[in-house]
């Protein structure tokens, strides 16, 4: 009789322990969920990158086109079609020179700068037309994509900080 009572008490304690373990597990799960939410990307911060791509595409390049000069956006299309400027310059070379100059002045990287690196990709569907990468690619980044609305041409710029 005494043994039976001791057994019952032990069972009760085990059930109590199991309940506490379950409660702790649930609380840990809730905590993990909250933590995961607070680590999400901050899309608002990408406005600078969006504006940068806009400015880059609207920049007037050195590529002559009869009485005017082509914007970077028009130059990308010309480079994609493997055409030349009216003054004989290669459109892709002018594009490369202009993009490199603009990005290196706009996003200064390295020691003492907040920006650690950047990458720019110009693609048409799956084909890469132009690519530029510099610095370290960290886990913190702002990125933006601009579609040129022709031949699936896209400009993707990412800034790492």
């Amino acid at each position: 009789m005494k043994k039976k009572t001791t057994n019952k008490s032990g069972q009760e304690e085990m059930i109590g322990f199991a309940v506490i373990v379950i409660i702790v597990a649930v609380l840990i799960l809730i905590f993990i969920r909250f933590s995961m939410n607070s680590d999400g990307k901050e899309p608002v911060e990408s406005y600078e990158v969006e504006s940068f791509i806009n400015s880059l595409l609207q920049y007037t390049s050195d590529c002559e086109d009869y009485f005017s000069r082509l914007s970077v956006q028009q130059l990308i299309i010309r480079c994609y079609n493997k055409d030349k400027c009216t003054d004989g310059k290669d459109a892709c070379r002018v594009l490369e020179k202009n993009i490199q100059g603009i990005i290196s002045e706009s996003w200064k990287t390295g020691e003492g700068n907040l920006i650690k690196g950047y990458s720019l990709n110009i693609t048409s569907d799956e084909t890469e037309i132009f690519s530029l990468k510099k610095g370290n690619f960290t886990n913190n980044y702002k990125s933006s994509l601009q579609s040129l609305g022709r031949d699936g041409l896209k400009v993707i710029f990412t800034s790492y900080y």
């Binding site: 609380l27 809730i30 608002v44 406005y47 600078e48 504006s51 940068f52 806009n54 880059l56 920049y59």
Partner: protein, 180 residues
């Protein structure tokens, strides 16, 4: 013997009560700790949201200024461009800024040419324009914080073939705060 048995039972009961009290304290402490964790996480989320809103407001302000009729390119440089500032218009506005001093609710507005880099450190006036890079709309030094964004700075320029549109990359900065 009976008295001893009663004493033993009482001691066992006291031990049980102590155990229960200890358990209650531990469980309460545990829940308090968990609550603290949850609150910290929740408040850090609120801080992030506040920072996000502040940044969004700043972006809206600089974009509003860049796209306002006094600054924007309109259709002078082809079809409507986003975040495009008409530099010629800006120089005229700079001359008559007295009428607009309180209009945008900021202490100063500055537009700095980023690329090309030639003359980018020279402050613009009607004598050196367009061979300059910094256009200060309100000619006063301010302290405080500023917000900035990329814009396209466009003007009409001349080549051997005639006039053409020249757009460059620049940064618009709006400053808040008192005068130095």
């Amino acid at each position: 013997m009976l008295q001893n048995a009663g004493y033993g039972k009482m001691k066992k009961a006291q031990l049980k009560i102590q155990q229960m009290a200890f358990m209650l304290i531990v469980v309460t402490l545990f829940f308090v700790l968990v609550m603290m964790f949850v609150l910290v996480v929740k408040f850090s989320g609120l801080k992030n949201t506040a920072m996000g809103l502040e940044e969004k407001n700043a972006m809206l302000l600089v974009s509003k200024i860049a796209n306002s009729p006094e600054f924007s390119c309109g259709e002078s440089f082809g079809r409507n461009k986003i975040n495009c500032v008409d530099w010629d218009k800006l120089m005229v506005l700079k001359e008559s800024i007295g009428k607009y001093e309180e209009f945008w609710g900021v202490s100063n507005i500055e537009i700095k040419k980023i690329y090309p880099t030639e003359n980018s450190e020279i402050i613009c006036d009607k004598y050196n324009y367009p061979e300059c890079g910094i256009t200060r709309i309100m000619p006063k030094d301010v302290q405080g914080f500023d917000v900035s964004n990329f814009v396209t700075l466009c003007r009409k320029t001349m080549s051997s073939d005639g006039f053409y549109d020249k757009c460059e990359v620049a940064r618009i900065m709006a400053s808040y705060g008192g005068e130095k």
